[in-house]
Structures are given as structure tokens and as C-alpha cells.
Amino acid sequence: MDPKLVEVTQVFDRFKAAYTRNDLQTCSNLLTELKVMLTKFPSLPPLFQQSPNAVQELMIARDIYEHAVVLSVKAEDQDAFERDFFQLKPYYTDICGIIPPSPQEYPILGLNLLRLLVQNRIAEFHTELELLPSSALENSCIKHAVELEQSFMEGAYNRVLSARQSVPHETYVYFMDLLAKTVRDEIAGCSEKAYEYLSIADAKQILMFSSIKELSDYIAEEHPKWKITNGCVFFQEAKDSAPCKEIPSLQLINQTLSYAKELERIV
């Protein structure tokens, strides 16, 4: 067996041991070491050289990056997640013919979809979704993310929140918690426009706070314009859809002059 491969395997075993112990610091140190070692394998992307050990090298590299992605979730580091995911992605898309598909593939892809949803990057969410074959949409992890996006777009926030109870994978919990925060902001934004006022009890329930104290803290911090009087939250907002009284003269002059110029050219 190739000495480099043996070395990587050994370090990776130590990494896994630390990983099961939940020793995140050791893990990330070992991971950096592993990533440096991986750069010496010629069969990995983007080189794809046909070396005799290619299959083993690719397998172990994919395994390492999969662990890296999950580790970044555990460490609650979204940037690291993004980096690791992009390193992992070629292993799913470009070399499916060489090594068998990983059982972790769909959970991790679903996790990435969830991350895009949390960060409100809907365009990228759909771009990623297009890459998946239709059979993948049946997978519970992917389906979970897709249904969340739908409910989110519709405004059925209750469904988004209740989905937290039915997460397909333990790592999803972190993002679901983040999503709850995003959802709360969305609800606050919607309520502001949709209601004139809400009683404090209702507001607490709609915005999903466990106590009135939390609610008033939230209002003071995020929406200082809201007023609490007589046990009700008033959403003060200037209702300015009044018909325009003034003629936008400067704009009209500019438009008319440009028409005149163009017409002159025609005639």
C-alpha cells in the first residue's frame, strides 16, 4: 500500500476518534493536517490522474470532506461549511462513475440547501436544486429542504417551524434553529404591514416568544418604531399610498425633451 495513503488513513482514524469524543479543537487541527496531505494525491480533483490508488484516494478524500462539512456544522461556522462543501461537491458531481455513491450524499446536499435557505440565497437554492435528478427529490433529506422552501415562500410559517420536529438528520437542528430566527423576522415584517395592532398576548404567540419580557426586548432591539400601549402593540407606519398631488415636473421635462430630440432625428 502506498505510504502516503497509509499516513492519511492513520491521521484520519485519529480524527474520527476525536470526532466521536466531540473534541472539536483537536478535530479541526487534524483536519487542517489532512487537507494538506490530500493535496499530494494526484488522482483528486482537479487533476484526476489515473493512478493505481485512485479509487482508494478518492474514497478517503470524499470521506474526509464529508466529515469536514459535518464538523463545521457542529462548530456552527457557516463560512467553513460553504468552503468545505465546495471542496466536496466535485466528488459528487464529477466522479460518480469511478467510486460508488456515498450514503452521506443526500443528507449533505440537503444540509447545503437548508443553509442557502437560512441565508436567504433563494436563487442559488434553485440553481442547486436543478442539479439534482428527479429521483433525489424523493429522498427525505432533500424533500425536507424543498418543502421548507415552499412553505417559506407561501408564508405558511407554522409549517416551517413544525418541521423542526421532523428533521431527517441530527445535524439539521443547527440550521433549523437559525431558520426559526429568520422566520421570526419575516413574521415581524409581515405583521407590521398586515395588522394595525395586536394584543400583547397575540403578538407573543405569533412571534413565538415564551415570555412577554422577551417580546419587549425584541421590539426594543429590532423594531423601535412599534409602540406598546394599553396592552396592545401598535405597528406605526406611515400609510402613504395617497394620490400624488404634485406633478413631477423635472422628470416630465426631461422626458419631453428626449422625445423631441428623437422625433427630430426621425423627421
Partner: protein
Amino acid sequence: MESSDVEMKESQPVAPAADGPVPSNSTPSAASNVLQLLKEIASLVEIGAYTKEVRRIARAVRLTIVLRRKLTAASVSAFLNQTLVAGSEAHSRLSSYLPKEDELDMDVDTETSTTQLSTKHTLPELEIYCYLLVLIFLIDQKKYDEAKACSSASIARLKNLNRRTIDVLASRLYFYYSYSYELTNCLAEIRRNLLALHRMATLRRDELGQETLLNLLLRNYLHYNLYDQAEKLRSKAPRFEAHSNQQFCRYLFYLGKIRTIQLEYTDAKESLLQAARKAPVAARGFRIQCNKWAVIVRLLLGEIPERTVFMQKGMKKALEPYFELTNAVRIGDLELFRSVADKFSDTFTSDRTNNLIVRLRHNVIRTGLRNISIAYSRISLADVAKKLRLDSPNPVADAESIVAKAIRDGAIDAMIDHAKGWMESKETGDVYSTNDPQSAFDSRIVFCLNMHNDAVKALRFPPNSHKKEKESAEKRRERQQQEEELAKHIAEEDDDDF
């Protein structure tokens, strides 16, 4: 698209170059007839190469496309024998792709080999043209593996040629190169090559080639749903005024698709509709595709396409699933929408619009909600949930948040009273008291003016026409002089009369 009078003028110098007048049905053998036409095209290419007039070569390509149905192995190989030097590399390679037939028209061969084409070394333009001809022939004969080999060889040859007169031929070759690989379903293999070719075309300022290759690359990426890469390439590739209408249409279509996926619906709609409008009438399949995507994008935007879109000639059947879908969205009935999506799911999967249809669900709810808010000035949230047929464990709470979001997004103008559990619609304002009509009018005027300017820019004039104009100016002066003299004469005569 060139106007027909330009083409007419082009054809004039061709006639004397060819051996005789355009062959009619009087020629006994069809093969020799085709061969005759091929020779005319070849001489067109030759003249184009010598006079450096690209348009002649473009015309040669067009004539070839007209001829492609009539091509036979015999006529193609006879043409090769005449055009290429026997024993040259190109000749032996190209002949090897053609199927061997026992009865080659040898008499035709000997009879015409004395014409002007028997020069010692072949023009590169003619050689490339031969590649193109053989490639088209192979694809039409469904010999895809040979076509792949032939196209790869031609691309290798092209890399060593840097002549502007070849650009037109090269761009066609690129197209058939990608097409032959698509037919054998291995587009991914040539992506690297296409990128290299695009780079080369950019360095050589071959704009037609760049345009074609960019489209091929986009097609290549979109074939594998790689929207991210496609968009990155598209946004970084150099843009310039389109040279070929067909390529521009394709570009617009791909652009529309990318933008749809990335939720930029307004821009997507513009590109897709423009692509559908600009496409030639004959390209029915392309226009159907454009229309399918445009319908979905308009639905996603909350617009309802007119019925005439679905009733266009020759598209009625293909667009039927989309028509029913539109109907479901228009009524705002979730149940109906679901059943339509199930019923035509095969069509939507093959069109690869399935994910977009899923996105539409949200619009169905919106439309339903808008209908409700127009019809009722006040309605309880429980009734809203019932009317929208939301199937969820807690329909009233869902309805409330859905309504709240619709209000925030400006889809409906209403208020919710949480304590009493109803939604109250606001009076619709008078649009004509705002600036909206004015700005809509302005955008239409700007559109018309731009159209006029574009039309002026697109005018083409035949070459050297300004000389003729000068002559006529001289003539006019002469004529005016004569008229003046005549007038003087008459005046004098008039004087005489008195």
C-alpha cells in the same frame, strides 16, 4: 437576415463562373445534377476566398443547407475527387468516412475534371468546406460515430488556419461538431475543447465564432443543468452586436432559462419573448420551447398569458399541458393545479420544467387570494382557508400568515383583524390619480423610439451603391441643364409669339 435584393446581386457573378445555366430537370441523372450544384457552390467559395468577401461564403453555406436532402454518397465522393487533390491527407481522410459504393459515377468524374477546379493545391476554404459537406452528410445519414471522428478531425485542422474567410465555415463546423456529440450523448467530453476554441476565436477576433461557441457552451452546460457555470461564463464572456440572428435567438433563449432558474423573472420574460419573436417561422420546435418557458415565467410573475399564445399555428398540441396549467393558476384552484401537474408530469419532466411547476403552487395561492380579496370586502380567515383548500393541520393559522405575507408583498391590499379573525379588503385606489399611467406611457414611447433607431441601424446597403448615386447626381445635373435650356427655349418662343 439579408434582404432578398442583396442576394440577387450576389448571384449575378456566379452564373458565368459556373459551367452553364442553373441545371433544370432536363439533366438525366440526379447525381450529376447535385454535383453540378455542388460545383457552383465550390466556385462561390473560391471567389469568396479570392475577393475576401465573407458574404459569398455565407451564401455558399446557405445553398448547401438547401441541397442537403439530395446529397448521396456518390455525389459527395465525386465532388471530393474533383475538389481535393487525390492522395492528399484531407482527401484520403474524408473519403474514408464515406460508405463505399460500387457504382460511382465515373463518367461524371472524368467529364468535369478538366474544369478550373483542378489546381495543384487546394484552397484552405475549399478544404474546410469539404469537411463541412461530409459532416452534414454523415449526420443526415445518422452515421454519428463517423460524424464525431470527422468533426474532431476538422476541428484539429481548423486550429492551424487563421483566415477571416474561413470564419463562417468554421462556425458551422463548430455547431455540427457539438451536435454530433450531443446526438451520441457525450457532450461533457468536448466542453474543454469548446472552451479552448472559444478562447482562440476571441484572440483572433472571430466574432461569429465566439458567438457560436458561447451558445454551444451554454447549451453544453444547460444540458447538464449547470446553471451556475453557465451564468458565470455568460456574464464574463465578451459581448458585441450579434452577427447572426439564429445565434442571437439561441443566446436569448439560454439567457432566459438561466434567469428563470435564478428567479429574475422580469428579465427572463423579456429574453424568452424576444427569442420567440425573433426566431424564424420555420424553427417551430425552438419557438415551442421558448413559448413553454415564457408561459411559465409569466405565470410566475403573476401574469396570465393570453389565449392566442396557445392557439398559435402548429403549437396548439405541444402547448396544451401549459394551457391547462395556466387555467388552473388563473382560477386559483389548488386542487385543479395539483391534478394538472400530476396528469402532465411526464411532459413537464421531459421539458425539465418540473421544478418550476413546483414553484408555481405559491402563485396559485396568491391568485386565489386576490380573487377572494376582490370579491369580498370582509371575510373570515377560516373561510379563506376553506376557499384556498389548504390541506394542513392548522389551516386558519396558515391562512393568516399567508394572507399577512401577501399583504406585505403587495399582492393584495387588505388588513387583518386578529382578534375578530377576519381579513378586510381596502378600497381600491384610483390608478389614474397616480403617476403610474404616465410612466407606463413613457416606457411604451421609449420602446417605439428604440425600435425605430434599431431599424435604422439595421439597414444594409449594397456595396458601391454610393458610386451609382453620384452618377445619377451627374445625370440629374445634365437633365436639369436640359430642362433649363428647354424652359429658356419655350420662354423665347413665347417671346416670339408676342
